[in-house]
Symmetry: C2
Subunit: 429 residues, 2 copies
């Protein structure tokens, strides 16, 4: 971890830069996968499963008996943990349900908004050695609370055509039973365009490798919405003298184990805390199964000594981290100034893992500086809001003349006339 | 207007199709504009102003004296109308401000969300003969309510380098004083990348021609957010026997005058209403200055007789119109089933013009079927939501073991360890 001291403010921007990922050369590869699935449907999916996942599938849809069998392979201990996480995530996301509130903007003019679940949504869960069932909780729970009518899930199988039991168990627990054994860019294509077996959806959620990310980016241009643009995961820790170096080191490492492209930043106004954290880092890292990955990440990571916590927050706002941990006993003094971050963890007991799994907040968050202009996933990500208005006779009489004047000034005479025909009638009554 | 009767349900999807717009060939043209502005900044903007808008500009920023002068050229009548619209739009969007609500998901685990205005936003207002000051109200008011720190506006000047006074008056009224005389794809590029004079923004809003639309689409891939994907404007009217054919015709025409690519659809369970509306249409159209445009639109428009209002609503949900007018005295019976629409106008006195200008709802809405997966612009479009969490000792003791189990099941041992180090300490106390 490189340590920076005596940094001038005009060099901050350079320090907040993430490594640029060249995605241009992916464009063609991924576009050809999208086009092929659009044109050839299930046949294309089958050939990609063979080619990329080394599995011969005749059916993509997971069967009821596969789901039932999975139940047996998940330990009671894990089921209990999932149940606790589910309760908390449900409670927090349920609190995001809003009531319709009718606003009478002018006498006789009532306006309101209705939140409606997006009818058809698709969740993508990556494969690999570890089953990311926590992401199913984070996406499936708000999807169900939003009352999306159709929630489908795509995830790649292993070479035997099997899905990890924890994935099937968690999906089924949430009532998601349309689970398809499809991975990669071809899964995104299948959900975006629909195939003989996979229903078309209106919005696609979930993490993935660079092919999945690129596919999500491209299908947006075909009118399919996505949760948010993606980038490597990252954490920024702000620590004052009351921060706990052992905990900070553990939190930095929990980010560092995600992958070699993860970003890890430590800011402090206290040199001792930085030094103690570095010592802790090298003590803890040797114990980790993913020590090699974590070491690579730390090589590209920064610890920056600044003059004050105010400066640390200003730097953090410029960086706009996905996860921001404020390792301090005085966090209430700092909250107000935090304006760019995905999710914030306050105090020495709020580790990022809590939000990743079980506290209740969502772990699908904007990375790569997108916290400047995007929110993380929430109930609203699965809804759209429809505005309604109802004007009474009094209402149109009240605002009609203003509409006529404005429409005329914009040279939209038919817009004006739609009011005029009504006002004329009402004058005659 | 083509009339369809005895339509079978399996042909509905074909009837909801919008004409496809070939945007592929725009890609290169627009990308080269983006690249040039990114590389050459103001110099590129100057040469595009010369080439596309036929104007030699030395300064893009509108001066204080230009803004002051504009004040004199806007009539008191129009100022008064704008003031009434502003009040209503403010009232409705102010009602969208949410309070932070702390949720204790488990004893000692507090989670909440904070809404923060996106720091830097850019509004684009197209040029042309008519000044679209109403769009400034629709974008500028929520931007200010969201407390976006920097709100800039780009709009093309005429050949003399002038901006329409109503544009300048309305912007200034909302406190938007950074107004740049830049139009087209180059304006989007300037706001996305920043130039010597134009500040870079994080999110770009506003309508525009196909070049502007394409530019917004492409700059998304560079991490700049946009309000929503765009398409031609459209209205769908559902009328039962209590609908007023004169009003319906006026509403259809107000959409039809927007441009030759506008979409206009009438659905009814009552043949008489359809016939009377057609008669009214041809009576009213001859009076309109934009009759030629409206006629073209009507040629491609559909009036569809269905068996019931329920069927009309089902068709409308499939179409997902930007504007939906329910021309009926019994609208309260119909609201519940409406699930895909941008903005809904209920009853014979709620004309679309009301929402376009002055009722209080936003007129920046999802077109082209995007109402299936996107909301219109609202206060939230100018904010992002940051989640916060604070765990007490009791909190981490409570959920810590579940996190450890889940992290281990996902093979993320450093995530587990971040909890373990804390729990170990707390057991020792």
């Amino acid at each position: 971890m490189e340590v920076f001291k005596n940094i001038k403010q005009d060099s901050w921007t350079a320090l907040t830069k993430r490594p640029t990922i060249d995605k241009e050369n992916l464009n063609q590869t991924v576009q050809s996968i999208l086009d092929n699935v659009k044109l050839n449907g299930d046949d294309a999916l089958k050939s990609y499963s063979k080619r990329f996942d080394n599995v011969d599938l005749t059916e993509f849809l997971v069967t009821k008996s596969e789901i039932e069998a999975a139940n047996k392979f998940v330990s009671d201990e894990l089921k209990q943990a999932i149940s606790i996480a589910k309760q908390n995530i449900e409670k927090f996301h349920r609190s995001q349900i809003t009531n319709e509130q009718i606003i009478e903007t002018t006498k006789g003019v009532e306006c309101w908004r209705k939140s409606v679940g997006i009818e058809k949504v698709g969740l993508y869960i990556p494969g690999g050695s570890a089953p990311l069932f926590s992401t199913i909780l984070m996406l499936g729970i708000p999807a169900k609370l939003a009352r999306c009518k159709e929630v489908i899930l795509c995830t790649p199988s292993n070479e035997k055509g099997e899905i990890n039991p924890a994935i099937l168990y968690t999906s089924n627990l949430l009532g998601i039973t349309k689970i398809y054994k499809i991975g990669g860019a071809q899964a995104i294509a299948a959900m975006a365009y629909g195939t003989e077996t996979v229903p078309q959806v209106y919005k696609i959620f979930g993490p993935g490798n660079q092919y999945v990310t690129k596919a999500k980016e491209l299908i947006q241009l075909n009118g399919v919405a996505i949760d948010m643009p993606a980038g490597p995961s990252e954490v920024l820790v702000i620590a004052d003298k009351t921060g706990n170096p052992e905990y900070i080191a553990a939190d930095l490492l929990s980010q560092a184990e995600h992958g070699a492209d993860s970003q890890v930043v430590l800011l402090s106004n206290n040199e001792t805390i930085i030094n103690q954290t570095l010592t802790e880092l090298y003590k803890q890292i040797v114990e980790l199964p993913r020590a090699e990955t974590a070491k690579k990440v730390l090589l590209n990571s920064k610890a920056i000594l600044l003059n004050s916590i105010d400066e640390c927050i200003a730097f953090s706002n410029l960086y706009a981290p996905e996860h921001l941990i404020v390792a301090s006993d005085f966090t209430s003094d700092y909250i107000e100034n935090i304006v760019n971050a995905g999710s914030v963890f306050l105090g020495n007991y709020s580790c990022e893992s809590a939000g990743d799994y079980a506290s209740g907040t969502n772990h699908t968050l904007p990375t790569n500086g997108y916290a400047r202009n995007y929110s993380g996933v929430s109930l609203e990500s699965f809804q759209k809001k429809i505005t309604f208005q109802k004007l009474s006779k009094e209402g149109i009489i009240g605002i009609g003349p203003s509409i006529e004047i404005m429409a005329e000034a914009e040279e939209l005479y038919a817009h004006k006339n739609a009011v005029t025909v009504r006002l004329k009638d009402l004058k005659n009554v």
